[in-house]
Symmetry: C2
Subunit: 253 residues, 2 copies
């Protein structure tokens, strides 16, 4: 698709860096910002579901949503079809569609799949990785705890760092099937993260866990990479469940 940055009307804290990148991309790719209506509808609905703006169980009516987003029913239907494929929306028998629920059971199930995929991915990455990339990541994660002392901006950079790690893992794995499966898991994970965020102690511990995984990958220790990933996911799940226990109410504001 043409432009990567057509949405996010309010982001852009990094300013000039992003602008420069966008400009370079635009120069390289003349067909600017021809994002289709269905793409816009898909991204907006997806973001809103992931952010909890559209709560689990919320009904999605075609006319209502198409009117709200400003596209006709046809592209909106395409968007909903994609969301159904993502598992974020489910069709109700006769009465429209709804945002899928995320029960505690389904969180367990999601993490079970996540374990299978990420442990395997970690093993593979430890074999096929580009050492330089992960050496750089190691430095970043060593400095990560520092980020957590700098408020909201630092938090954002921390999360961006985790995204970088995920990207590096995907690149090292180099397997489109596995990467796609991981992407699907991360989609659902994004809905869960909302519940458990803002826990500095946990984030510091998570950084240390990531660091161990990275060191295992750097040194090519497949077994340690897998086991460290297992431990990390165990701790992550525990944290999520504890957060849910403490705040059983629906996470939507």
């Amino acid at each position: 698709m043409a432009s990567v940055y057509t949405e996010t009307p309010k982001a852009g804290i990094t300013g000039s860096t992003d602008a420069a990148a966008a400009a370079a991309a635009a120069a390289a790719v003349p067909p600017v910002a021809v994002v289709t209506a269905s793409e816009r509808a898909y991204r907006q609905l997806r973001d809103e579901i992931l952010d909890g703006v559209l709560a689990p169980g919320a009904g999605l009516l075609e006319v209502e949503q198409s009117d709200r987003i400003g596209v006709s029913r046809t592209p909106l239907r395409a968007a909903i079809a994609r969301l159904i494929a993502d598992g974020l929306v489910a069709g109700r028998a006769g009465r429209g569609f709804m945002v899928t629920e995320m029960s505690v059971d389904s969180i367990h199930e999601l993490y079970e799949l996540r374990r299978a995929l990420e442990e395997h991915a970690a093993r593979i990455a430890a074999t096929r990785r580009d050492p330089l990339v992960f050496l750089e990541l190691r430095e970043q994660f060593r400095a990560a705890p520092e980020l957590l002392l700098h408020g909201e901006a630092g938090l954002h950079r921390y999360y961006a760092l985790i995204d970088d790690f995920d990207d590096a893992l995907d690149a090292a794995v180099g397997n489109p099937f596995l990467v796609a499966a991981l992407a699907n898991v991360r989609t659902h994970l994004a809905r869960i993260r909302r519940l458990a965020r803002h826990n500095p102690a946990r984030l510091r511990a998570a950084a240390a866990e990531h660091l161990l995984i990275i060191e295992a990958i750097v040194s090519g220790d497949t077994s340690l990479a897998a086991h460290a990933t297992h431990v990390h996911l165990h701790q992550s799940l525990s944290n999520v469940l504890a957060a849910l226990e403490a705040n059983p109410a629906a996470p939507v504001d």
Copy 2:
């Protein structure tokens, strides 16, 4: 839905007879085959891709396909959207869509994901299985080599048996996320199986490998279940690659 057989737009001379038949059918079986047009289009295209009737790399034009299948472009677009989500179809930049290719590399990649998922599933099944189900399956697989001596019909029953095994595995796992990921893998696998079928010796060996997995699951031996699955997948991949080596040409007639 008006009629299930809308494809004859000019029929309708029989009038009352059809109406009576429709009424009788509706009375007898309320949930009558009200398969939507998009569902029909999806299934037909999917089957044709999996069977190789639509060869990898083949172009899919909306008008052409909608005309051929007998639905309008709208439901056909929905069908193609689902196929894209399945990874069976990819959009080409400006020139329509095409059936995705299956290179030797992508076969390796698919089996890498398959290993991750099925080994994990086997472990889980060995823990959560219903013993009776797998004891029954064990009997069936013990008798499986016999099936291979009875021509085409026996072959069909053999493949049906493997489907039963997959279903039992899914049921034992009881994890919608994992089951969905497995289903996706099996979809792509179906395209590969065409290449390597009709090899009685391999099928007999595969039955023995399945038997070992089942026995591990029955006895709750998680480690053996995973390792036996790994071995099975290794042999399966080897067989596929050997078949490809022997017949490098595209399998499509």
